[in-house]
C-alpha cells in the first residue's frame, strides 16, 4: 500500500449530497452559496504580544500574534519599516498536518496573506522609522493554525488584520547614542482594512468560505483582497482547475460585497474606526 499520508477522502454519499444541494443553491451545512460560517474575532488574547487575535470561521481556528521590534531597514528602502507575515500549519490542527518545515501549501498561504496586507498598504511603513538608514521598527505577524476546517486563507488573513488593528507598540528613541524603549505605547500607523474573500469552484457552482470537505472536492480556488475603498489589491488563484472569465469578474464583485460586510465585523471586534 502507499506510504504517502492519505488526505481527506470525501465519502461518495456526501459528494452526491453536495452536488444535489448545490444545484438548489444550498450546501451540506445549510448555507447559501454566498454565506460565510459564523466568524468570531477575539483580540488581546496574548497580552505579552504587541497585538493578538483569535479568529474562528466555523471550526477553523487560528491565533495571530504581532511583535514589534527594532531592526535595520533593507538597503534599498532605508526610509521604511519592516513587515514580516508568517503562518504555521501546526500538527495540532489536523490528522493530515505533519510536523516539519512548511510545505508548499503553507508557504503559499503565508505569502498570499502577506501580499494582501502589504499591497493594500494597510501599514504606513514610512512612519515606522526611528533613524533613517539605521534603525526602523520591524512588525512581525505570526499565525499559529490550531484547527482546520477549510478556508485557511480568510481565517489567517482576518487574524493578522485584527491583531494589527488592535496592536500597541512601544516607541523607542536614541538616548546618548543608545536605543532605549520609552514609556509611550501607540497604535500602528494604519491606513486601511484589507479583507480577503475566498471562493471555491465545485462543478459549475461558486461557493464562498469552503469547508474542508468542499475544498477536498473543489476544482479551483480564488482569493481576492479589497481595501476600505473597494479597490482590489491582491489576488491568487489556486489548485489545478480553472475559472471562466465571467466567474473571475463575478468573483471580484463578490469580494467587494462580502468584503464590506466582514470589514464591519473587523471594525466592531477591534474598535478601529478607519
Amino acid at each position: 500500500m502507499s506510504a504517502v499520508k492519505k488526505s481527506l477522502v470525501v465519502e461518495q454519499l456526501r459528494r452526491n449530497q453536495m452536488i444535489e444541494l448545490l444545484a438548489q443553491g444550498k450546501r451540506l451545512d445549510g448555507r447559501g452559496l454566498l454565506d460565510y460560517r459564523a466568524i468570531k474575532i477575539e483580540t488581546g488574547i496574548i497580552p505579552k504580544a504587541s497585538g493578538s487575535a483569535k479568529v474562528t470561521i466555523g471550526d477553523t481556528q487560528v491565533i495571530a500574534g504581532v511583535k514589534v521590534e527594532t531592526g535595520t531597514p533593507f538597503p534599498d528602502t532605508p526610509d521604511q519599516g519592516l513587515l514580516i507575515v508568517n503562518a504555521e500549519l501546526l500538527p495540532l490542527s489536523s490528522p493530515y498536518a505533519e510536523p516539519g518545515p512548511p510545505d508548499e501549501g503553507t508557504i503559499e498561504l503565508a505569502r498570499v496573506v502577506d501580499r494582501g496586507i502589504r499591497e493594500s498598504q494597510m501599514i504606513d511603513v514610512s512612519q515606522l522609522v526611528i533613524k533613517e538608514g539605521e534603525k526602523v521598527y520591524a512588525v512581525f505577524a505570526d499565525v499559529s493554525i490550531l484547527n482546520t476546517d477549510g478556508n485557511l486563507f480568510d481565517t489567517t488573513s482576518y487574524a493578522v488584520v485584527a491583531a494589527l488593528l488592535s496592536a500597541k507598540y512601544t516607541k523607542y528613541e536614541f538616548v546618548d547614542g543608545k536605543l532605549r524603549p520609552t514609556e509611550v505605547k501607540e497604535a500602528l500607523p494604519l491606513r486601511t482594512i484589507p479583507v480577503s474573500v475566498t471562493v471555491a469552484k465545485i462543478g459549475d457552482s461558486i461557493v464562498v468560505d469552503p469547508t474542508d470537505e468542499e475544498e477536498a472536492v473543489m476544482d479551483a480556488r480564488l482569493t481576492l483582497t479589497t481595501d476600505s475603498n473597494g479597490n482590489i489589491c491582491a489576488g491568487q488563484k489556486g489548485e489545478p482547475g480553472t475559472f471562466s472569465f465571467d466567474q473571475m469578474l463575478n468573483g471580484a464583485d463578490t469580494s467587494r460585497m462580502k468584503g464590506q460586510e466582514i470589514r464591519n465585523i473587523l471594525r466592531e471586534a477591534t474598535g478601529f474606526t478607519g
Partner: protein
C-alpha cells in the same frame, strides 16, 4: 441491580481492593484495581470494569463496521474504519478465489469514496484488520446520511437486544446501520433523518446518565416506559 457499585473515575484512580476479576479498562497491582480510562467504574460479583466515555475503536473479529474506501492496490481495497489501523478488503473475497488482477479490475466493483458495511473476519496484534462482505446486509451502501459517534457509545445506541435502535427506527421510519466502529448510516425521508440525527446526538451526549431511554422517547414524541 444488587451489589454493583458505580463511581466516575479517571485514569489512575483506585476502584476496588480485594479479589476480583478484571474485566475491562482496569489494571491490577497486587490486590488493588485501578482505572485506565475516564469513565464509569463498576464493581460487582462478575468483576471490575470501567465503561469508558471516550477512546478509539479497537477492531474485534466478527464486528460489523461501516467504512470508507480510501485506496486500492491490485489485490485489495484499503478501507478507513475509523480506527488506529486501515482495514483491507481482499479482492478475492468479492470476485472469488479465481480472481485475476489482469482480468478483474477493482474499480469495477468499489471506488474510492464508497461506503461499505462489512465484517471483520481477521485481526490480531501482528497485522491489519481484514474485512469480508459475506453476510446479510453487507456490501456497498449507496445512499444515506453518515454520522460518527464515539465508538464506546455504540452499545447504548443499539440498546439492550437492539431496543434503542428499534425505538428510533420505528419513530422516524428510517433504517439505521450502526457500525461497532462508531460510524452510522441513516436512510429515510429528510424529516426522519433529521429526527434520527437528533436522537443519536442525544445518546452521544447522555450515554452515561440515567433515564436515557426515557429521554430519547420524549425527544421522539413518545410517552410511556416500554423498553
Amino acid at each position: 441491580m444488587p451489589d454493583i457499585r458505580r463511581k466516575y473515575v479517571i485514569p489512575g484512580e483506585l476502584i476496588a481492593e480485594g479479589n476480583y476479576r478484571p474485566v475491562a479498562n482496569v489494571f491490577r497491582v497486587g490486590e488493588k484495581y485501578y482505572s485506565t480510562r475516564v469513565g464509569m467504574a463498576e464493581v460487582g460479583h462478575e468483576g471490575v470494569r470501567v465503561i469508558p466515555l471516550s477512546g478509539p475503536y479497537i477492531p474485534r473479529v466478527d464486528d460489523l463496521v461501516v467504512g470508507k474506501v480510501v485506496d486500492y492496490s491490485a489485490f485489495a481495497w484499503e478501507v478507513d474504519i475509523n480506527s488506529c489501523f486501515f482495514a483491507f478488503l481482499p479482492a478475492q473475497s468479492v470476485f472469488g478465489r479465481d480472481y485475476s488482477p489482469a482480468e478483474d479490475s477493482l474499480t469495477s466493483k468499489f471506488a474510492v469514496g464508497d461506503i461499505l458495511a462489512a465484517k471483520i473476519f481477521a485481526f490480531d496484534r501482528t497485522r491489519d484488520p481484514l474485512l469480508g462482505l459475506a453476510g446479510p446486509g453487507l456490501g456497498r451502501i449507496p445512499r444515506g446520511e453518515i454520522v460518527k459517534i464515539t465508538p464506546t457509545k455504540v452499545p447504548r445506541l443499539i440498546g439492550k437486544r437492539g431496543s434503542m435502535i428499534r425505538t428510533i427506527e420505528m419513530a422516524t421510519n428510517c433504517r439505521l446501520t450502526i457500525g461497532q466502529n462508531g460510524v452510522v448510516v441513516i436512510t429515510g425521508s429528510p424529516d426522519g433523518v433529521l429526527m434520527s440525527l437528533k436522537a443519536i446526538k442525544l445518546v452521544e451526549e447522555e450515554a452515561h446518565t440515567a433515564d436515557l431511554t426515557q429521554k430519547v422517547q420524549a425527544l421522539l414524541g413518545q410517552g410511556g416506559a416500554t423498553t
